[in-house]
Amino acid sequence: MAYVGDATTDFVPPAEVGEVELYHAKSFITKYVFSQDAKTIAFQYVGTALAIGVVGLTMSGLMRLQLGFPTNGIIDPAEYLMLFSMHGMIMVIFLLTALFLGGFGNYLIPLMVGARDMAFPFVNMMSYWIYLVSVLVLLSSFYVEGGPTGAGWTLYPPQSIMSGTPGSGMGISLMLTALVLFVIGFTMGGLNYAVTVLQCRTRGMTMMRLPLSCWGIFCATILALFGFPALLVGGFMMLLDRMIGTSFFMPVILEFGEYLSYDGGSPIMFQHLFWFFGHPEVYIVALPAFGIVSDIISIHARKVIFGYRMMVWCIVGIGAVSFVVWAHHMYVSGMNPWFGFLFASTTLVIAIPTALKIYNWLLTLWKGNIQLTTPMLYALGFIVQFVNGGITGLFCGNTALDIPISDTMFVVGHFHLAMGLAPLLVVFGSVHHWYPLMTGRFLDATLGKIHFWITFIGTYALFFPQHYIGFNGVPRRYFDIGGTNHIVESTLSVRQFISVITWIVLAAQLLFIYNIFKSYSSGKIAGKNPWKANSLEWQTATVPPGHGNFPEEMPLVYRWPYDFSVPGVKDDYIPQNLHPDEVVMESGGKA
């Protein structure tokens, strides 16, 4: 018999510590506003992240207006720079990171590991409010003189703090302040997620019985706790350069012919700090998506996840290696070119555990009992887009191959599929999957499926051709490509096609938002554990789970969460907390 989780047993170790009394809210304000309940904090995170995400998405629509129709005369070059810079930062940090860790992390971790709440609820509450302030600081940069920064989401100095770049005054200062605040707020949340997984698991819940969603969010949190400090330091140093004239990143330099007072700094040092955070950031977004998608596929294919231990170690391995690949973003930066050998090798090595995860998802489908529910559709779509985004990374990661395509549209296609759209499809899938738990009702499946097909086909049609025009030499971050003798004229028609598709996809997102509101009051009643899942969040006494998650006794865990379609057992699922004596066999008797 093959390995099963941490094999089923009726032995549950005794509690190591007694119950700790939770904080109980006494007023509306402490219950719904300054709430210390992880589930309420999760909703606050998700609401804020989606709101700022809508701003970021709208910006991509405006950007495409310029890219598809460069002579429209509506957007000027400075505005175009601001659009893509703010779009990138909003989507990567303020939407995706906040959504996966602050949103899903807060909601799922305590429920999945079997805890009443996070380890430090007060700090958890602070985390959200600091995040909210950082979002407001970021938004305020739209209203200051000079507008928000237009330095690209990478904020490379020296240009980010020099006058040839829009928003080099207050814009960049507010952006850096927002990032510093975000990191502070995140650290408060992150410590919670990590400590809760390590210390607050219920009896019987070993690490090797954690659902992969938990593993993904847990490892992403560890990455973030190690990676974000580099961004914090880089942000502080650039603020000092900008505000009080230090020269961390600024060498002797001219600004339109006039010497500035800087001397001796190195612009490349910022790039190292930025990418030491920036590359793990890709996995901070991707690992939770990997974990969640594994759970969705296993549950909706009614089949044990293939290679659980491999999946766990791949997540851990990807997380570890992701700290030694950062300079693959800097092959053309002017750093010592000999670094290229090391970073190309580590980067391609990371492709191996990633590929193994993809095989395991596919092998989970093999001989399954595949239910094409809405969450499953998003998970299946995720595989297609993520594989595409992943393999194009093999071009970008291999030094010599990256040199010609660096800073072309190829890179834009690559990272949007890998870390933009693929994780976003998982977000949509997860909302469909856990909405019944959060509200007691299903999201409307028809609307959901229409939304899925438009988003999946639309975004794929949108980003796939970008790789090809990138080969052709179409650069990214160009306001207007104008005339050249090597870029094929007809790439303009491709860019127009992409723009039109973008607007269709953007419009389709309204369906999703409408669905969330409509189903809240009139969706089909889901009842308890509607997907017949095994993990603990579905085993709560009430739906949605109340304050303290598990009202009376904490659940005891006897097995891993992937016992689907076990031979000889009557049902096709066995919840983690079902005592082995209670399992009903096909013969009708109990085990």
Binding site: Y359, I383, I391, T399, L401, N472, D572
Partner: protein, 295 residues
């Protein structure tokens, strides 16, 4: 239905590839010695392309072949792991990754080792234009100093260094180079990051203020090639263009003779203070860039 659309995604992906090839949305014809980079790119393209297609078709097949069989049914298989299969997948993936990595590393080995007889040319970048410098008769560049930039000395050359006197200065965005001669291209920047890039040469490196960066190549085709800036450098980034003209050695020498040396240029300073701004784009675009700067 779902399996069919996923299947179609694979088919359309392959079809789009053929269409792109036909339409020319593909690598530009190479004009330098870096054919090995292109070869490595093609190797990766085909390995990943076949892998991608297999994954999509396998997924579509699973959805088609193993649909939900209704209430009370179960999956046909319960297989938490298979050491044999996982080992096989691990080693086959690893060997494919090595097959993609190795050509890349060999190409990179060449990239970081310029030939001994390579000649020198320098690109000086500033918002938003290029100028160029050749080392002159002595074959060596004069020392530069970032504190010496001025209107009279737009290349920041140290006037006291005798090696700099014969340096040839090109205050124009058009650069001429002879065919089949290896050149090391050094880059300096007066202000922010820039990147002097010609798509057909396949090679580039950022220009970074405060340091000198370099790369090398051998042009292999006669013709005119567009230079574009490939590192975001502010509001005029898209207007930062230039031209590289690759020609026979004789034509190149004739062009080079017309360019002033540093010594001549210092002597002329003051009488000709025109800056070398040369914007290739339409006037409308340049105007809008200026409007952006003014904001």
């Amino acid at each position: 239905m779902t399996w069919f659309i996923i299947f179609l995604t694979g088919v359309l992906g392959v079809a789009f590839h053929l269409w792109a090839l036909e339409a020319g949305w593909w690598w530009t014809p190479i004009a330098s010695n870096w054919t090995f980079i292109d070869t490595a790119d093609y190797v990766t393209f085909w390995i990943t392309g076949v892998g991608m297609t297999l994954v999509i078709f396998f997924e579509a097949y699973c959805i088609y072949r193993f649909p939900y069989k209704g209430e009370g049914s179960k999956s046909e298989q319960y297989n938490p792991e298979s050491v044999k299969l996982e080992t096989f997948l691990f080693f086959s993936t690893t060997s494919l990754v090595v097959a993609m990595l190795l050509p890349g590393l060999f190409a990179w080995g060449d990239f970081v080792s310029p030939p001994e007889d390579a000649k020198q040319v320098e690109v000086v970048s500033e918002q938003w234009t290029w100028s160029y410098r050749f080392p002159g008769k002595d074959g060596e560049f004069g020392t530069t100093n970032p504190r010496k930039w001025s209107d009279e000395n737009p290349f920041g050359i140290d006037p006291d260094d005798p090696k700099g006197k014969d340096d040839i200065l090109v205050e124009d965005t058009e650069l001429h180079l002879p065919i089949d001669v290896a050149y090391i291209v050094s880059s300096r920047s007066k202000d922010v990051l820039h990147n002097f890039s010609v798509t057909q040469f396949r090679a580039k490196t950022d220009a970074v203020p405060g340091m000198v960066t370099s790369w090398w190549f051998t042009p292999t085709k006669i013709g005119e090639f567009n230079v574009m800036c490939f590192e975001l450098c502010g509001v005029g980034h898209h207007t930062m263009r230039g031209m590289v003209v690759i020609e026979e050695e004789s034509a190149f020498q004739a062009w080079l003779q017309k360019q002033p040396t540093f010594k001549q240029s210092m002597a002329d300073a003051g009488t000709d203070a025109e800056d070398g701004e040369n914007i290739v784009l339409s006037e409308a675009s340049a105007e809008s860039a200026e409007k952006g700067i003014a904001q």
